[in-house]
């Protein structure tokens, strides 16, 4: 079957009235969840998962994509109207969205946010459709060595995003691998780490672990303060009408900000583990640096809304590219989607697009359609979404805790899953309190099994460990893993240690080595380009006399 035929079959499945209705509900649920400060989009997607068990994979995944798109856009309502970010992905939206709303233009602020979300999402959707199939062909070249190194890279880069607490990030990731290894070994059937408990022989189901770690612990963190828990999350708002026409005109005038921010979002989305939280702040920062009047940022300028909202929506397209092309999650939401695929007996792998083309195209199409649904719902139901946010947090949190229990039980119809939820809720809460990031742990749980299988396959084929360094793709991922591992040190020491001057030039130089080892002519040409970039950066350092940047320069100009 060719691309067009697969795409048509996917469109047929997604455009089915039943699927469309589920997606509309999904977008609405996402908008509500996103609008509630303290509720993350991840939590909304995680809580959707139990409802998708009874659906086929296309409907289930389409619904989850819809919740995600709705959640990203819902976050802007709280950010603009209250100044409290609805989700971490919309933190930067508060910087200019709220001042604009306070100055009497809440309709324009919301319009800019809604349409920037839409355009950002559409740009990333176009990239997804263009890039994912080409990248998937690369995935077909992977052997077990390469895939194992890819998992190592995904865990390392996710942990490195924990910044100063990289050790904690790595511990969380490896702890996730440990959790994934509990239960019977797939190949030999040997029970591992069960400590004589029969229920643990089947291991921990992914969903109770995920809901416990994320949703359960998040809800308890939200109600920890008794006074705040009893207050309405968002106070009453006057009637607001979105200024669509004015917003679209403004965005077209600021098209450079839109394109730049969307590209930042896509790039951040492609990096495993990085998500909208980073993208929206980075895009805002870049918009400010590129502006002729950076001092006006923070007072309610349109670019201050366009940049974060387009970038945080563009993230998902990038994350889906990584998920579909390489079989590893681009962010926590795509990690949940991979979990959903496992529930539907579809193993995530670099061959996902070639083995499940209709499902892959369905996800892409669902993403695009969800953006249109989001636009319609934001316009028609804005007031209802705002009203929902007046509920007191303790009431909402308690009801959702009970829903978690019902949803989790529905997974396998066993009470053990409820206890898993409970214990991982405690672990998640403790991890939050002590500053351990949860994203690497989720990635560890999701990828643990694949990592083990591929390591065993690699060693069963050949016990020579040097193959991890002599196979081009494996070496490529190991090199990026090493650089992402060292990145926090580079960031902290770049104003005081001489070796940091070599860090950035060495990255393209090192990556050119595995690319030179690859067949064909495109990759060696890319390697030559990387080599040239590395040499040029070294020459620049040499020309400036190997002078370290001052703290002020680092703050103003950022990095290379």
């Amino acid at each position: 079957m060719d691309v067009l035929e697969n795409a048509l079959l996917a469109l047929q499945a997604v455009a089915h009235p039943h699927t469309f209705a589920l997606m509309t509900i999904g977008v609405a649920a996402g908008l509500i969840a996103g609008a509630i400060p303290g509720f993350t989009i991840t939590m909304a997607v995680v809580l959707t998962l139990p409802f998708t068990f009874g659906m086929d994979a296309i409907r289930g995944l389409s619904t989850m994509v819809a919740v995600f798109v709705g959640g990203l856009s819902g976050g802007l309502m709280a950010s603009v109207l209250t100044g409290i970010p609805g989700t971490p992905s919309s933190v930067a939206t508060t910087f200019d969205g709220h001042p604009m709303a306070k100055s009497g233009r809440p309709g324009l602020a919301l319009g800019l946010g809604v349409w920037s979300s839409f355009f950002g999402g559409m740009i990333s959707c176009a990239f997804l459709i263009m890039l994912a199939p080409s990248l998937a062909n690369i995935g077909l070249e992977f052997g077990p060595w390469d895939y194992f190194s890819l998992v190592v890279f995904a865990l390392t880069i996710t942990a490195s995003l924990a910044g100063k607490d990289m050790t904690k990030g790595l511990i969380a990731g490896v702890f996730g691998l440990l959790v994934a290894s509990i239960g019977e070994d797939e190949t030999s059937g040997v029970a591992r780490f069960t400590f004589g408990i029969d229920d643990m022989r089947q291991g921990f189901a992914f969903l109770p672990v995920l809901v416990g770690l994320f949703a359960f612990s998040q809800l308890l963190s939200d109600i920890r303060d008794p006074k705040a828990a009893k207050k309405p999350m968002v106070m009453n708002q006057a009637k607001i009408k979105i200024e669509h026409l004015q917003a679209v005109k403004t965005i077209f005038r600021k098209w450079a900000t839109l394109i730049r921010s969307s590209l930042i979002g896509i790039f951040i989305g492609i990096l495993p583990g990085a998500g909208g939280t980073i993208a929206n702040i980075l895009a805002y920062d870049q918009a400010k640096k590129a502006s002729d009047a950076p001092e006006r940022f923070g007072t309610g300028v349109p670019e201050g809304i366009i940049a974060p909202e387009s970038s945080n929506n563009a993230v998902e397209g990038g994350a889906l590219i990584t998920m579909m092309a390489l079989g590893i999650p681009g962010d926590v939401v795509t990690a949940v989607m991979l979990g959903a695929l496992l529930i539907h007996n579809i193993a995530p792998s670099p061959t996902f697009i070639s083995t499940e083309p209709v499902l892959a195209y369905s996800i892409m199409i669902a993403f695009a359609i969800s953006l249109f649904i989001m636009l319609g719902l934001q316009t028609v139901c804005l007031r209802i979404f705002v009203l929902v946010t007046r509920v007191q947090m303790y009431r909402l949190a308690t009801v959702i805790l009970a829903y978690c229990a019902i949803g989790i039980f529905a997974l396998n119809n066993i009470t053990f899953d409820l206890w898993t939820l409970f214990w991982f809720g405690i672990i998640g809460y403790a991890m939050r309190q002590f500053g351990f990031p949860l994203a690497p742990m989720i990635l560890g749980v999701v990828l643990g099994n694949n990592a083990e299988i591929n390591l065993i396959r690699a060693l069963a084929t050949d016990t020579d460990l040097m193959l991890f360094l002599t196979r081009p793709w494996s070496l490529f991922f190991i090199l990026i893993a090493v650089f992402s591992f060292a990145f926090p040190w580079y960031q902290n020491l770049r104003t005081s240690r001489q070796w940091t001057l070599l860090f950035i030039p060495c990255l393209p130089l090192a990556l050119s080595v595995p690319l030179f080892m690859m067949s064909g002519w495109v990759r060696p040409v890319v390697a030559l380009a990387l080599l040239a970039i590395g040499c040029w950066l070294l020459w620049r350092r040499h020309r400036s006399g190997w002078r370290l940047p001052t703290p002020a320069e680092v703050k103003v100009y950022g990095d290379d």
Partner: protein, 160 residues
């Protein structure tokens, strides 16, 4: 006054966990058909976790403990975390009583008890809490039971 930091305690706890898990790998059953033992991967993971925990311990000890402004007291900690503790305790109770109460009755009681424990404490609020508990759980129970066909735990008090 300088005391041991929470990070040091967590690092030590992780090292103990690693030791226990590593010891457990020696109890694995030996399977002759397997080319590479089932213990290889778990041992690699535990060893890496142990090394990271040791690094974390080193970093924590090097950073030193922050002098606490006020001495730690169990009473203050319990007061500060009373909502979280109440939720965990009631959720645990809900799970323990699930075989008897079932998902419908147990869920309603869990929601009501949790709302009463962490929410407003007046008659009107309790009536609202009761309504929320019955409607929310009743609705979700109906969706899963009748629409999705999931057989939720029935319990012995209110069997279907």
């Amino acid at each position: 006054m300088r005391r041991i930091s929470a990070d040091v305690v967590i690092a030590l706890l992780l090292l103990v966990i690693c030791a226990v898990f590593y010891a457990e790998t020696f109890a694995y059953q030996r399977v002759h058909l397997s080319i590479i033992g089932a213990k290889l991967w778990p041992r690699v993971v535990v060893a890496v976790l142990g090394m990271l925990a040791a690094l974390y311990l080193y970093q924590s000890v090097r950073a030193g403990a922050t002098p606490w402004e006020t001495p730690w007291s169990l009473k203050a900690w319990l007061h500060e975390n009373r909502n979280v503790i109440a939720c965990f305790a009631l959720y645990g109770l809900f799970l323990v009583t699930l075989p008897w109460l079932g998902m419908l009755l147990g869920g309603i009681l869990f929601v009501f008890a949790t709302l009463a424990a962490i929410g407003h404490n007046d008659l009107k609020s309790h009536l609202v809490h009761a309504a929320i508990a019955v409607v929310s759980i009743g609705l979700m129970w109906s969706v899963f039971t009748f629409a999705l066909g999931v057989v939720l735990p029935e319990g012995v008090i209110l069997p279907r």
